[in-house]
Symmetry: C2
Subunit: 195 residues, 2 copies
DNA sequence: GTCTATAGCGGGATAGAC
DNA sequence: GTCTATCCCGCTATAGAC
């Protein structure tokens, strides 16, 4: 009946990730101890090392998983249509993907400096790859005259920063629904690059 | 001649702030030790406690000083003219104030969660006060028909997030000068709230 | 796979001499 | 005002029993 005590790798593994995600998002990587994470999971600190070689790898896995999900989801989006339609699709995708992942997004921006140089480079490359998705849309629209963007790279960074800001104040039970917020942000984005 | 050894309060005080600013900005509050700060200043760890009652107060002072400077400088700006002129003035002021203060700005956004609840409330109130400066401009412009802003509060947050993003990628020796960058951002801001 | 126990280190903060 | 020395605590990571 009850499975043998002390054999829960398939359960404990995800729980470690979830606990680390929540605690690091709330308190910061440097401020969270392996003991805290273990306590949240319901094991002793030593047991965590069955799932991660060290604390650094735990952080890296959280960030890599998040970026992999982001890139995979974006890859599956429709890439056809006018540049305006593509820009709207990017805007709405970005909001819809990021908003339900507040902890992951927060960590991905706040804890970059706590990555080892090697790990940092890997995450940065993935982030750059994602940004290129928007940059290409803006460049195409600029060339064909749909958009007026003095500097495509700056506009890319500016728009992503604007969209990311949403995560810092959005609350599920706020006065506006997700659809309304999406539309308001799309209005800002659309006009900011308009001719 | 040489002043009496062990009496440098007027020199050491600012050096402690400067060292804390630099180190916390680079590594994060939780990751920086009082010993590291002391080493950067050139004293022993115990000597720091002549200048701060504890580590928490050191962080709070950094953030409070930054916000006080911001509010004081903004208060001195010209508040007259059309709403469009006021919006341009805010945009350029924000960029010009924040860009040379990369460490302070970074800390003010990254280390909020390391403030005690009391200190957090004080900093948040100052930030909110500053945001109101932009919010008022947008609301006035919306009322008189100069701007088309579906939601003033969201637009305020979105524009500030966009402008703050500049700090994360700007480098002094980059391909664009400060004036050019200001103008590019002003173009994005102006159009995003245009009718 | 998890536990207990611990090694080895570094943290914040204080005491008291100078 | 700064120093040295230290208290007491918590940290990451490992060892070995079960």
């Amino acid at each position: 009946m009850a499975r043998k005590q002390g054999s829960h790798s398939d359960i404990t593994g995800p729980k470690v990730q979830a606990a680390a995600l929540r605690l690091i998002s709330q308190h910061g990587f440097a401020a969270v101890s392996m003991r805290q994470i273990a306590a949240e999971v319901g094991v002793q600190a030593g047991a965590l090392y069955n799932y991660t070689p060290d604390k650094q790898s735990l952080l890296f896995e959280l960030m890599r998983n998040h970026m992999q999900d982001l890139l995979a989801d974006w890859d599956q989006q429709d890439k056809s249509g006018t540049t305006l339609a593509r820009l709207e699709r990017f805007t709405r995708f970005h909001i819809r993907f990021n908003l339900p992942r507040a902890d992951e997004v927060f960590i991905s921006y706040m804890e970059l400096r706590n990555l080892s140089p090697d790990n940092f480079a890997k995450i940065e490359q993935m982030r750059r790859e994602y940004e290129t998705g928007l940059e290409d849309i803006l460049r195409d629209g600029e060339r064909e005259g749909t958009f007026a963007v003095p500097d495509v790279r700056i506009a890319t960074m500016a728009l992503i920063a604007m969209l990311n800001g949403l995560n810092s104040w959005y609350r599920d039970n706020g006065r506006l629904g997700l659809d309304e917020i999406e539309t308001i942000y799309w209005d800002l984005v659309r006009k900011s690059v308009a001719v």
